[in-house]
């Protein structure tokens, strides 16, 4: 007899998210036209938008109603994650354990930050599609939250796609650009970004699926735990290579990372702030599930390749970020390097398992990365809102003299930058340290040395951004104006980055509990 109520409770968060998504879609449909933004009779001209932007306090507006609904929904889901019981779904395809709970919360926070950051952008660029925008975001979140607890290849694949497909759409969401005259033109960059993202993604998902199909064929079961039964064979090796390669796309490991800078550059910034973090976290978690939960016995099949990939990824990411003048491209490549570093945590966990800190270090890194990376992308978004010249939008130059214009914003950005660079008293430092410590304990001293070595390159470009903020001459001296919600999100990220840097033990303990639960 299946305990339906129990199952529903276990699945509370994904379910609630699904419901939220549906509510949002219907709300979008049913919302009276009056609640829609003014320019809903045809294409919104940018002149109107400028007027709307000129309003003194860009606070809560009726036009943002769907956004607020989505936000409240996510907050409710976050609350639900505190009451949803832990347990195993009948059939064992989904386990809601401490780690799943923790990751759910992290992902939901990522979603909340993205929505907070998106208000202004949505109103400005795709006001009429905001229902779909938030709904797709939530769809993706459903997939991610499922990924956090899945123990079944089938569910994993579906959740993975559920996470990914809405992101293709979101990356392409900016269907219009503003040309020099201020008129709307078809969004060339966004389309290009979406196309690249999609094509590489589709190829990768085919590769992943092929690998998964082989894994299924070898084990005869879709349970990840059953993968451990497979005898070692070349086919298993190829299958794991296929899976890793497929995930490599989502995680942005070299050489699967080329789409990342192009897509980040072209996609709407709030979306980038979301999909530069959340899917990577969820993807790495899923990969970890497969590798550690299923293929741990076949370490020698996948570990060498993955280790090599992590080295290449860290190096390539840092080197590619070095010459970038475009902030989003810079962050994209730096994110690649960060993922390479995160992988080290997986190796540590693979080698030492419950004895080491690998997994909890990985989880900690997720959180650190979320705070800092999202924060920075939202700073970019804030600046894009400030009516900067389209020619220099998102360039490092647009940050020039930020400290003189808005010291608070500059400080927030600085904190996040330092965190990404792994400078002490920002949470990123603890994350790196924790991962390195775990890896060192697991015997990956050389890898740590490599990681530390290439991260020095990272300092160079992070400092260059800081330099621009603090040393550059501002083009205008007025403070940066930004929607209140965006400021709240940026502040939250910066505070989290700094606060957790000062007092990391809360999170460390949480991740340890979570990791311990997963490792039994």
């Amino acid at each position: 007899m299946i305990d339906w109520m129990g199952s529903l409770q276990i699945l509370a968060v994904p379910l609630l998210l699904t419901v939220s998504m549906l509510v949002l879609v219907f709300a979008d449909l049913l919302l009276p036209a009056a609640a829609q933004p003014k320019g809903n009779q045809g294409p919104l001209s940018f002149r109107d938008l400028r007027k709307a932007q000129a309003e003194p306090v860009p606070g809560v507006q009726r036009a943002d109603i769907l956004g607020w609904i989505a936000l409240v929904q996510l907050a409710l889901c976050l609350a639900a994650s505190f009451v949803a019981p832990q347990g195993v779904l009948p059939g064992g395809s989904y386990v809601h354990d401490a780690m799943a709970v923790l990751m759910e919360r992290v992902l939901l926070v990522a979603g909340i930050l993205a929505i907070l950051g998106a208000f202004g952008h949505v109103r400005q660029s795709f006001a009429r599609r905001q229902g779909e925008f938030y709904a797709l975001l939530q769809c993706s979140l459903v997939g991610m939250t499922l990924l956090a607890g899945t123990r079944d290849l089938l569910l994993l694949v579906v959740a993975f796609e559920l996470m990914g497909i809405p992101l293709y759409v979101l990356a392409t969401f900016a269907k219009t650009d503003k040309n020099a005259a201020g008129d709307a033109t078809p969004g060339r960059k966004s389309a290009e970004a979406g196309m690249k993202f999609y094509l590489v993604g589709a190829l990768s998902s085919a590769i992943t699926l092929y690998g998964v199909s082989l894994l299924y064929g070898l084990s005869g079961s879709t349970h990840i735990a059953d993968l451990a039964r497979i005898p070692s064979s070349p086919l298993l090796q190829v299958a794991s290579a296929l899976v890793v390669a497929g995930f490599g796309f989502k995680l942005g490991l070299a050489p699967f990372q080329f789409w990342i800078p192009d897509t980040y550059e072209g996609a709407p910034t709030p979306v980038v702030s979301f999909f530069s973090v959340a899917p990577k976290i969820a993807g790495l978690l899923a990969l970890t599930q497969i590798l550690l939960g299923g293929l741990l016995g076949h370490l020698q099949l996948w570990l060498p390749g993955l280790v090599g990939m992590s080295v290449v990824t860290m190096t390539a990411g840092n080197l590619l970020a070095l010459p970038q003048l475009h902030l989003k491209r810079l962050l994209a490549n730096s994110g690649v390097a960060q993922m390479g570093t995160m992988l080290i945590g997986v190796f540590a966990a693979a080698t030492l398992g419950a004895k080491g800190h690998g997994l909890s270090a990985l989880l900690f890194y997720f959180i650190a990365y979320l705070a800092a990376n999202t924060g920075l992308f939202l700073v970019i978004e804030t600046l894009a809102h400030d009516g900067s010249e389209p020619s220099e939008r998102d360039l490092i130059a647009s940050l020039s003299g930020l400290n003189r214009r808005s010291p608070g914003l500059a400080l927030a950005a600085l904190v996040c930058l330092l965190s990404l660079a792994g400078i002490p008293f920002a949470v990123g430092f603890w994350a790196k340290l924790y991962v390195f410590l775990a890896a060192w304990e697991a015997g990956y001293a050389w890898l740590v040395l490599v990681a530390v070595g290439v991260s020095v390159i990272g300092l160079f470009y992070y400092l260059r951004v800081a330099r621009s903020m603090y040393l550059g001459e501002p083009r205008v001296t007025t403070p940066v104006r930004s929607p209140l919600t965006l400021s709240v999100a940026v502040t939250a990220c910066a505070l989290a980055t700094a606060g957790l840097g000062l007092y990391p033990s809360v999170i460390v303990e949480a991740t340890r509990t979570a990791a311990a639960a997963w490792l039994h």
């Binding site: 190829l203 794991s240 192009d262």
Partner: protein, 614 residues
């Protein structure tokens, strides 16, 4: 003993403290310092106090010659709770007599300076006396030092005072150069003293020069220590080839030359040998070297002195020569003659310099050619100068005669013939060039500079008179001085004494013929001209200049270039390389999605291959 009686240690401390106090008062109260003359009075008062204490100490030692030295010290450096070095005072016959010499000469010079420098702006005068106080304190500290470390400390401080006082006319570029040169040369030599101290400590665990320490040193240690110490002595006491700074140091005011660069500071090198004599005695090789080097310096410097036209330079070279005498004597293996010459030399050389100062003061020029015929106008100063000159020349009865005689005697006694002959030659030359100076300056044809010359004020005359008396009488005090210092000395007319006196008289005679009677022109005598030519080429000076310019600056320039363009260049190159790597790698990001798809497939293949190659 009454309650007011000071112990000798206290007296020595007070003796040192008085000038220190003066230095602090003047240094810390600019208002007082800038009054000039009042600052001078303060300094003189404290120097006088010092002199009194010094005199009392000497007097005390006279009657306690046999008693062990009075030592008082406090711990200064510790290592692991164990004493490494201490500071304090050691009063014995040597230091007590030296204290008197130093304080008396210093007092004389300070008083003399009041008159000599009366044209200086008050602020400069105040500065002058401040440095003088500093010097006096340092010198006294050196004299009473109970161990080699304190001696070294004060040694360097007197060097500092010398630097500051040479550079008194700091606006004159030549003065600045001379000050810096003096510091450089002595600092270079002090590498030896520093290293010697280290050797001393490493071997013995103390900086003492006690017999026990010498025993611990052993032959090797003693040789190293003495050799290194002697390097420092060469610098401070202007021995060849490190004498080059001394003539330049004459850029300082003449009283300074009298005090530092004739009577006391330059003698510190000799004093160092005297104090650490047990160590030197354990290093026979060094002693031999000292004998020969001292003799050579004496001869060499005397030759140069013959052709100098600057009255102070003559005296400066003569100082180097006389220090050569002392060094040579100490190298011969007996302490007292060298030290005795130090004391007498202090008196008559200070007298000579102050006398020269009086002459210069009168004509406002250092140049002998500008003087001449001053005798009628400067009877007292002139007399004093002549007394000094005779003392220096070693005319029997004058102070220099006794000490020089003792030196020559001891050399002969030890069968060190070559140095002995060199020193005899030098004695003759000394008499010659002093006669030359006296003839040219006092008795020659009056020039236009001499027209307005007039006798010095009493503040300048009094010291002259005092020192002249000392130069006349000190020779006869030798015995009691030696007794106080625990040595034996009695004058007896010896062979070398007779030869030396005859040579001196010969020198005077030749000098009188050449410059008094103008019987012949020395420059026209081929041998003399030849030697003069060599000397005036100043080969030593120029080789030093060359090594500074070429070796030093060349090497440092090379190092700086290497640092900037090779080491730093390499750092820059690494940064450049990384950035270029980034730029090049960027080319892989073509922007065409097909290439990205290829990358995916390639990555897949690599991953699969990674397993196969395992």
């Amino acid at each position: 003993m009454s309650a007011f009686t000071l112990t000798r240690v206290d007296a020595a401390l007070l003796c040192c403290a008085a000038p220190l106090l003066s230095f602090l008062i003047l240094g810390l109260t600019p208002a007082l310092r800038r009054t000039g003359r009042i600052a001078g009075y303060v300094s003189i008062a404290f120097a006088g106090l010092s002199t009194l204490y010094a005199a009392s100490l000497l007097q005390g030692r006279m009657f306690a010659a046999a008693s062990p030295p009075d030592i008082g010290q406090v711990g200064w450096l510790y290592a692991g709770g164990k004493l490494v070095a201490s500071m304090g005072v050691q009063v014995d016959g040597i230091s007590a007599s030296m204290l008197v010499v130093v304080t008396v000469v210093a007092l004389c010079v300070q008083v003399f300076s009041l008159g000599y420098l009366h044209d200086e702006p008050p602020a400069a005068l105040g500065r002058y006396y401040t440095w003088h106080s500093l010097f006096l304190f340092s010198m006294l500290g050196l004299v009473v030092a109970p161990n080699a470390l304190q001696l070294f400390l004060c040694w360097e401080l007197v060097g500092l005072a010398s630097y500051l006082l040479i550079g008194f006319y700091f606006k004159k570029p030549s003065a600045g150069q001379a000050a810096v040169k003096a510091f450089w040369v002595t600092k270079f030599a002090d590498i030896g003293l520093g290293a010697g101290l280290l050797v001393l400590y490493v071997f013995t665990g103390t900086f003492d020069w006690s017999p026990q320490a010498v025993q611990l040193l052993g032959a090797t240690g003693a040789a190293w220590t003495a050799g290194l110490f002697f390097l420092a002595v060469m610098g401070k006491s202007a021995q060849f080839p490190l004498h080059i700074w001394l003539p330049d140091a004459m850029e300082g005011p003449t009283p300074v030359s009298a005090l530092l660069h004739a009577a006391t500071m330059v003698a510190a090198g000799v004093y160092l040998i005297v104090r650490t004599y047990p160590i030197f005695q354990a290093a026979p090789g060094v002693l031999v070297f000292m004998t020969f080097l001292g003799a050579w310096t004496a001869l060499f410097a005397s030759i140069i002195a013959c052709s100098q036209n600057d009255i102070k330079k003559v005296l400066a070279y003569s100082t180097a020569a006389q220090l050569g005498y002392m060094v040579s004597a100490l190298g011969a293996g007996e302490l007292w003659p060298g030290y005795f010459h130090l004391v007498t030399h202090a008196a008559f050389k200070a007298l000579l310099f102050l006398g020269a100062g009086a002459l210069i003061h009168a004509v406002h020029s250092n140049n002998l050619q500008d003087m001449g015929g001053l005798w009628p106008k400067l009877k007292i100063s002139g007399t004093a100068f002549i007394i000094g000159a005779m003392a220096l020349a070693g005319v029997p009865g004058f102070a220099g005669f006794f000490s020089k005689d003792a030196i020559l005697d001891v050399l002969l006694e030890r069968h060190l013939f070559a140095p002995w002959i060199a020193l005899l030659a030098a004695a003759g030359l000394t008499a010659f060039y002093m006669t030359r100076v006296v003839m040219l300056a006092l008795f020659g044809k009056p020039g236009h500079h001499t027209e307005h010359a007039h006798e010095s004020p009493p503040s300048m005359l009094a010291p002259l008179v005092l020192l002249a008396i000392a130069a006349l009488t000190l020779g006869f005090a030798g015995t009691s001085l030696a007794t106080a210092a625990g040595h034996e000395y009695a004058f007896h007319l010896s062979t070398s004494g007779l030869i030396a006196s005859s040579l001196a008289l010969l020198g005077i005679g030749v000098g009188w013929l050449a410059y008094g009677k103008n019987a012949f022109v020395p420059g026209k005598i081929p041998a003399f001209a030849f030697v003069q030519g060599i000397v005036e080429s100043s080969a030593v000076d120029r080789s030093f200049a060359w090594s500074y310019r070429v070796v030093f600056q060349g090497v440092s320039g090379g190092v700086a270039w290497f640092d900037r363009y090779i080491i730093d260049g390499f750092m820059n190159f690494s940064a450049w390389l990384t950035q270029m790597a980034g730029e090049r790698l960027r080319a892989a990001q073509t922007g065409r999605v097909v290439d990205y798809l290829y990358a995916v497939v390639a990555g897949l293949l690599l991953l699969a291959a990674a397993g196969f190659w395992r």
